[in-house]
């Protein structure tokens, strides 16, 4: 699926990266622990999280991820959005909760591949 499909499936708002919505996504992961993302995630391109700070964006950048989805309507600060825009990362903000958001994407065919806790 594309980032745009994720946006639609999760009723999400695009915070930044509107120009990259057509990028293809093959796997995703969900976690509030950046330690676990750094240690367990392999090639997932999307990170779903309920944690809101600049290190979420930086972690995604270090892992070469291309999209961060903040669940429970969390909205990043302008500084976080700017950081993401500089690294070409799309930010989505969805009203769904973590469990539901992951379930929706999974049941629409987006798998996790590597393992991830949390």
């Amino acid at each position: 699926m594309t980032i745009k499909d994720i946006k639609n499936l999760l009723d999400a708002e695009v915070v930044c990266g509107e120009e990259s919505l057509d990028k293809e996504i093959h796997s995703a992961c969900g976690s509030d622990m950046m330690s676990d993302v750094l240690a367990y995630v392999k090639n997932q391109a999307v990170l779903l999280t309920g944690l809101l700070n600049a290190q979420v964006i930086r972690t995604a950048e270090m892992m070469d991820m291309i999209c961060v989805v903040f669940v429970r309507n969390k909205k990043p600060t302008p500084e976080m959005a700017e950081l993401a825009a500089e690294s070409g990362i799309v930010i989505l903000s969805s009203p769904k909760r973590m469990y539901e958001a992951c379930g929706i994407l999974y049941s629409n065919g987006l798998r996790g591949e590597g393992e991830i806790n949390g």
């Binding site: 622990m33 330690s35 240690a39 700070n53 290190q55």
Partner: protein, 140 residues
Amino acid sequence: MAESLYFEYPVDGENFASAGQASTRVKRNLRELGLDSETIRRVSIAMYEGEINMVIHARGGVAKIEVTDSQIIIILEDKGPGIANIEQAMQEGFSTAPDDVRSLGFGAGMGLPNMKRYTDYMNIDSVVGEGTTITMKVNY
């Protein structure tokens, strides 16, 4: 690359919001140098883990990165509390991070083992009460 390149960045220990800034800069520098993405990813993750450690455990320090024609050398120096038992600190799951660090998304005790996993060489030199110097090398 004929000559090696050297970057040095201060790591601010007072401000968690900026933690990871040095790693972000290094990643962009390595991209500009045209290094392959897998090498950049390994360096980025290892350095980022080390940089976060300097902020949450050691009140900041300095990050020094050297790029030669065959490897990237990352040296992270701090004047924090030091690590009393390095063998224990290297174990997955060992962490002294307080709860407020965990609420920031860190403190699972995975950083040091992850740094080892992503690098070809890692050495921890630490003196309790004086500080810690971590040297990592990634061959490419």
